[in-house]
Symmetry: C2
Subunit: 301 residues, 2 copies
């Protein structure tokens, strides 16, 4: 089934205890797309500025992404983020954000993409998320992400967006800030009360939790020793999850469970290198191999 993602396309500069990378390709939609495309074709919708390097565009083209929805805006500059990781590297310290084109009008969904069946609205202003959703013709599964900024400044609008989607992906800090509930299962249930059918709570190195009306799923992160740059881990998780669901063309609870495991494996690849290094060289067969290892890691009689 067709999978569409809207989100940021960024030029990142990242420092971690394992090195640094300056002016590299990043952004939520990019990480998402690289993970999702291990499972299914991906339609990318986003805006970059005139300064977006051809080399980066080539990276996206080489991955086989459908770039019909990639707008290059004249007179604008690409979104830039600079951050660093220290200690357990579970959370980035943002050193600089230049919104640039992300502070202007949002992207448009091309007519050719309006029939997309599976949709991921990566983090952006919740009003824009609803606007994008309105440009689609009755998609089968819509999942959205968000960030602390909107929780703090646009809470009502965000809750309105949650009321229009099937699933929400948030991290643990966001789930707690949003609901005032410290217990993540209870936080998930508060979010369910706003409309979505499922909530996925990402806990970084501690794994992920799925909360629905009927059940709870909890999976640990893949315990890799090769954490070099956690940037994009959450987006790669979401990409693996949505890519798998779109390929299966099904979003039953059983499929959601399987999708969480695929997302977990994709995130584990993404953090092994700076920028897209970790996920870029991965092939579908590598996902299967690591998935088999992951099964053993969580197995008990």
């Amino acid at each position: 089934m067709s999978l569409l993602v809207t989100g940021s396309i960024a030029i990142d500069s990242v420092k971690s205890p394992y090195g640094q990378a300056n002016d590299v390709l990043g952004g939520s939609a990019v990480y998402f797309s690289f993970a999702a495309s291990l499972f299914t074709p991906v339609r990318l919708v986003g805006v970059v500025g005139e300064d977006f390097p051809q080399a980066f565009r080539d990276i996206l083209i080489d991955r086989g992404l459908d770039l019909t929805g990639l707008e290059t805006r004249t007179g604008s500059r690409t979104f830039r983020w600079r951050g660093s990781y220290t200690g357990d590297m579970n959370e980035a310290t943002t050193l600089e954000t230049r919104l640039n084109v992300l502070g202007e009008a949002g992207p448009k969904i091309p007519d050719a993409f309006a029939d997309s069946r599976f949709v991921f609205l990566a983090n952006t202003h919740p009003t824009l998320q609803r606007d994008l959703l309105g440009q689609l013709h009755g998609p089968e599964l819509v999942v959205c992400d968000t960030m602390n900024l909107w929780i703090n400044t646009e809470r009502d609008s965000l809750i309105k967006t949650f009321g229009l989607v099937d699933g929400v992906v948030v991290n643990d800090t966001e789930a707690r800030a949003l609901t005032g509930q410290m217990n993540l299962v209870l936080a998930g249930r508060v979010i369910l009360g706003w409309g979505p059918r499922f909530v996925v709570i990402k806990k970084g190195e501690h794994g992920v939790m799925l909360v629905t009306d009927e059940s709870i799923v909890a999976l640990p992160a893949y315990p890799t020793t090769e954490v070099r740059d956690p940037t994009g881990a959450g987006d790669s998780f979401a990409g693996g999850m949505m890519g798998y669901l779109a390929r299966q063309g099904n979003c039953s609870e059983a499929h959601l469970r399987s999708a969480l495991a695929r997302g977990t494996v994709c995130a584990s690849f993404a953090i092994e290198g700076f920028s897209l290094e970790g996920i870029r060289s991965v092939r579908p067969a590598d996902v299967e191999v690591r998935l088999a290892t992951y099964r053993r890691i969580v197995h008990f009689e």
Copy 2:
């Protein structure tokens, strides 16, 4: 197989967002014993003071614990701990510790217990842990716990103890402090280098990790919504783990995996009530029911 535990027996006062309990029965050896006795008979070794209430002794007797190794020391007072939990309740704030009898000479292992096959040395001075170990006749499996105090003040002695045991149980903060490694798999491997065959790293609400030379196991915590008092969660985990291993009479990797799951379930019961309320009313059949739920929680195709 016979299971022996040495550790603290305490009078606790605990406050959490869900209430408080003053002067209640606690201590590492007590929580451990209550969980372990769901699987196998338990030999308890520890020291209390003259002030130890008969009502508390009756609770231990009612549980069917073998109290041959419980010394009531004349002229001494029982160890007391007062603490509180806030926020995500993942870590206690210690408000007061009165070592009392724990600051004096350690307990002795009764001759009748010297043949114990499975042994858990709960947190105490690492020199005392080795002294206790020396009183046993070639046990089959020895696992020890520790705490930040000994990591900071008795690191060399602690590493010496680790060289004499089969398994080490520590929490994530301790593993990092002890090894200087932020990555928990790498931290586990540093500890393996000191001698033990396996390391179990407890991550509180985030579950548990097992590191051996051959493999890594990661399991999430049981996602309960009923967290009232996390005191004793780690000790209940260890009790469930060791109780299961002793019952099976086997500590192969497959059995260790199964034991981690039993420990996880025991910990989830322990935190549902203050003091021993959570675990005390649990029957072996309740463990099986929750274990079946836990299997569904971590299941994916």
